[in-house]
């Protein structure tokens, strides 16, 4: 019994692939005269934002990249410092991989201008092009957060700092499918994210 329990735990630890989140549908098409049914997964749609260097960043810049997305604002007094601290661990683990990115979206684009984002990145010791702090049209950011990354954000004058948002880190694969969501304020879940990124990198279609 005990051995069975132990080994079942072991099996869970060494998973070889991650689940795929979001809606899916079966599409039947005709290939070489034969009808083939394929599963089409929900993917992150087109977007266009600006990063801390003033460069525009679109979905195309994330083609063929595994990336972690989150939502924050630079003056956030509540969970953001914790999230930044934990995301720095992820950044330091994978910053040498050129097929890995972090995309932190500001939910307060009015305040978080390009120079403000640059200063924030500098103060976190983030340079180069692994970790992008982006801002864009507020509706665009809020829509993609809720519809595609499945993270709730909203403006609320009664909340500390003026916004409520969930501190999830969302893992996206090279085909822009959501493969995991982790509580960015919990170091244990962030360790799991790091382990899952390694698992994902080893999947055949992520190489």
């Amino acid at each position: 019994m005990l051995a069975a329990g132990w080994s079942s735990c072991k099996t869970n630890d060494s998973k070889t692939s991650l689940p795929i989140f979001g809606s899916r549908k079966a599409v039947t098409k005709t290939v070489n005269g034969q009808s083939v049914t394929d599963t089409v997964y929900q993917t992150i749609p087109k977007f266009s934002f600006v990063n801390q260097y003033g460069d525009s960043i679109s979905n195309k810049n994330l083609d063929g990249k595994i990336y972690v997305a989150d939502f924050f604002f630079t003056t956030c007094p509540s969970i953001c410092p914790m999230m930044a601290r934990n995301l720095l661990t992820v950044y330091n683990t994978f910053k040498s991989k050129d097929d890995f990115k972090i995309l932190s979206h500001s939910i307060d684009p009015k305040h978080d201008s390009v120079p403000v984002l640059k200063k924030y990145a500098d103060k976190l010791g983030v340079s180069g092009n692994t970790w992008w702090f982006v801002q864009g049209k507020k509706e665009d950011v809020y829509t993609i957060a809720e519809k595609n990354y499945l993270v709730a954000v909203k403006q609320d004058s009664t909340a500390a700092g003026g916004y409520v948002h969930q501190g999830y880190f969302v893992l996206v694969d090279k085909q822009k499918r959501v493969r995991g969501a982790y509580d960015g304020t919990d170091p244990k879940q962030v360790d799991q994210l790091i382990a899952d990124i390694k698992t994902l990198q080893a999947e055949p279609d992520q190489k």
Partner: protein
């Protein structure tokens, strides 16, 4: 009835130990209050400070200062309560580095402020003793 006669040395030792016991019970009262402040302060720290300043008081790089600059804490002892109660909007220098982000106000009662300062002043390598509620109330009267 037989009177028991104790040797003088035993009487002296007994007397001395009573004096020592009294001394330490007095010590205990102080250290008990310190411990109470410290453990309450630890809980307040977790709720109000930890997100930004981290569990080990290390802060966050150039964004949020660490809380281990004993010299700063000692030199600014009288303004710590004001900074916690009303926030901080001016640049400060911690461990020789400049920090210019605003610190938000924490709506805490004088007792809670005294407890959390006592916790901070005796954690992260600091050994600066206790700050009482009375001291905090006095300090809060002269906030700029």
């Amino acid at each position: 009835m037989m009177a028991i006669r104790y040797p003088k040395s035993i009487v002296a030792a007994l007397g001395l130990s009573i004096v020592i016991a009294l001394f330490f019970s007095c010590e205990n009262n102080n250290s008990l209050e310190f411990k109470r402040y410290y453990s309450e302060g630890a809980a307040i720290y977790q709720t109000h400070c930890l997100n930004c300043h981290a569990a080990d008081g290390s802060g966050l790089l150039a964004l949020i200062p660490a809380l281990n600059d004993s010299t700063f804490l000692k030199n600014n002892k009288a303004s710590l309560a004001c900074a916690i109660r009303y926030g901080l909007k001016r640049p400060i220098k911690i461990n020789g580095k400049a920090y210019d982000e605003n610190m938000p106000a924490a709506n805490l009662a004088p007792m809670e402020i005294a407890q959390v300062i006592t916790y901070m002043n005796n954690s992260f390598g600091n050994q600066l003793g206790m700050v009482t509620m009375d001291e905090v109330e006095t300090d809060l009267k002269s906030c700029k």
